[in-house]
């Protein structure tokens, strides 16, 4: 093998004159495949990586976050935002309650309105509704828009996103140039997928196929598929959504699987991902910085992609 040191270092990982050098691995005395010269050449330590500098380098809009009916909310969310350099968080209180009556969604939205009025520099508001109540939902869109919200928050599992009950709601959101954002899952036994298993979830949970369906019906709509890191099968999600160009995915969720972001960009393209946390703040940033995206691509995912769509309705951050 004829290889110079620079090339070798660039494509091999370097040895470290570390704490393990010498006799630590008792028994591991067999000769290596590398020549002694090559081994000797690779004796430097890894370069220091300044993680927090990387974290703070990028402007960020968190396209999917939540607040709660709790004493420490939204203070806790704001603390993470400050700690991790998240400029704006799009918050909602998702309607995780059945049946999701107008009284309930108004109460949930009131919480969000209160928060965005108190912290206008850091929080953007998203409203929730239940399309089973058409009149009240359309009225709620107006009430919340008048209160300064930028669009729907994470719409939940009361009704599937492609159910005809959603049509008048979606048409109104398209008219207002808002991003149509819904919860979704992709798991055995959930929402119509492989129902011989039982995922113990609400039957009307939206799945990727539902997004493909509604995005085809409304090609002028801009859809946000929630949390590819929400624990479900992200490979399945991305493959299903690959040919639906008006479906964007947010990267949030507690699952920070290695290669998730690279895989999503490979299939969907660098313009169809939104950085988001769903309140899993560390994972949300770690998975993007650990990816192989270029700096320009990271900039798009962390900020520009979402902000550019907000611009269509004049609701952009800057």
């Amino acid at each position: 093998m004829n290889i110079d040191r620079r090339k070798f270092v660039s494509r091999s990982f370097a040895g470290a004159a570390g704490i393990l050098a010498g006799s630590h691995l008792k028994g591991l005395s067999a000769p290596g495949r590398l020549t002694a010269k090559q081994e000797e050449a690779l004796s430097s330590k890894p370069e220091k990586y300044d993680l927090m500098r990387e974290v703070m380098k990028y402007r960020k809009i968190d396209a999917h976050a939540h607040i709660y009916f709790a004493d420490n909310s939204p203070r806790e969310q704001l603390d993470f935002g400050e700690r991790l350099g998240i400029e704006k968080q799009v918050i909602s209180r998702y309607l995780s309650i059945m049946p999701g009556t107008p009284e309930q969604f108004r109460e949930y939205n009131d919480l969000t309105i209160k928060a965005i009025k108190k912290y206008p520099d850091h929080l953007l508001g998203g409203f929730v509704l239940n399309p089973a109540y058409k009149k009240e939902s359309l009225e709620e869109i107006k009430r919340c828009t008048d209160a300064g919200m930028i669009g729907p928050g994470e719409l939940y599992y009361q009704v599937k996103i492609n159910d005809p009950l959603y049509y008048p709601i979606i048409e109104k959101l398209i008219e207002l140039k808002m991003i149509i954002f819904s919860h979704a899952e992709c798991q055995l036994g959930v929402g119509g997928y492989r129902m011989k298993y039982n995922g113990y979830k609400e039957p009307n949970t939206s799945i990727p196929e539902d997004f493909v369906d509604i995005a085809r019906r409304y090609p002028e709509g801009i859809f946000q598929y929630a949390h590819i890191g929400g624990g479900g099968d992200w490979e399945y999600m991305c493959k299903t959504l690959q040919h639906s160009p008006n479906v964007y995915v947010d990267t949030s969720g507690s699952n920070n699987a290695e290669n998730m972001i690279d895989f999503a960009v490979e299939l969907l393209g660098e313009d169809r991902l939104f950085f988001a946390s769903d309140n899993s703040y560390h994972q949300s940033i770690g998975k993007i910085l650990a990816s192989n995206l270029t700096e320009a691509q990271k900039k798009k995912v962390f900020f520009d992609n979402y902000n550019n769509l907000l611009k269509k309705g004049g609701r952009n951050v800057d």
Partner: protein, 268 residues
């Protein structure tokens, strides 16, 4: 210095993994400034005879001095499979392995199985740590062929309560608890025992959102940097440490989390 106490090479049969060889993992370590990784072979979860996986790891590491300098291998042992006592001896004496990884759910035995108790006592007597984890992958993305402990179902993912019985049974062994992804709650009596046990937890798990508070309640000596690589991304476990504020973890405490606790626990 950074020591990753929770990394792997090998394959996951239901999903392609990246960076799952010593060479590729080493490149991740160089890119992100990690000096040393404790590794085991994922294949040992799926081979009936786990020793084949341990031999694979041994062969891979011995191929290069760089690997021997940067990796600390752990053995995968299944205490209900034939010959595990001899395997363990070989792993330690010949292969230079420094700890044990066990997988009760994948290897199909209970946490209080007499064979596991025997293994943990033997590990204690050999001064080897035994590593448990909450889970390997997020159950919500599981393959139909994977084990069926699934979040939010009547057969949920493990919590600390599922691991604790072995600690109670052999309280003077050394334990690593990895990928802490669900509840750490125990009843008062068990929590008191747990707090006395010699336990090191890694920072890869999603439950460790509020590290600042956990350092106060659990103690700053009980956590160490871990990635759960290549299953989880390489940086989140690091970010949980680096994003701590000065009033949550001063410089000395951060050094404990980056490498000090691991060095002390493992006797490096």
């Amino acid at each position: 210095m950074l020591i990753d106490i929770n990394a792997y090479v090998g394959h996951w049969p239901f999903m392609q993994l990246k960076y799952n060889t010593c060479e590729a993992l080493g490149q991740r370590m160089d890119r992100f400034g990690v000096d040393v990784s404790l590794i085991s072979n994922l294949n040992g979860i799926f081979y009936k005879n786990t020793q084949s996986a341990n031999k694979e790891l041994y062969e891979e590491i011995k191929a290069s001095k760089r690997y021997r300098d940067r990796f600390v291998p752990f053995a995968v042992i299944n205490p209900i499979y034939a010959g595990w006592q001899y395997d363990l001896e070989e792993c330690v004496r010949k292969f230079g392995m420094k700890g044990i990884r066990v997988y009760p759910k994948y290897h199909d035995y209970e946490i209080n199985d007499p064979s596991l108790i025997e293994l943990v006592k033997k590990a204690r007597d050999m001064n080897l740590p035994v590593a448990f984890n909450y889970k390997m992958v997020d159950s919500r993305q599981r393959s139909w062929m994977d084990i069926d402990y699934v979040a939010y179902t009547p057969r949920p993912e493990w919590t600390l309560k599922n691991i604790f019985p072995i600690i109670k049974e052999v309280p003077d062994a050394r334990y690593m608890i990895l990928n802490v992804t669900n509840s750490m709650q125990l009843n008062e009596a068990d929590a008191a025992l747990f707090n006395k046990a010699n336990v090191l937890m890694d920072t890869s798990g999603r439950t460790l959102t509020d590290m600042g508070s956990l350092l106060k309640t659990q103690g700053k000596e009980r956590f160490a940097f871990g990635t759960h690589s290549p299953i989880l991304d390489y940086l989140t476990g690091m970010l949980r440490i680096e994003a701590l504020r000065e009033n949550e973890a001063d410089a000395a405490t951060k050094e404990l989390l980056r490498s000090g606790n691991a060095k002390k626990f493992l006797g490096l």
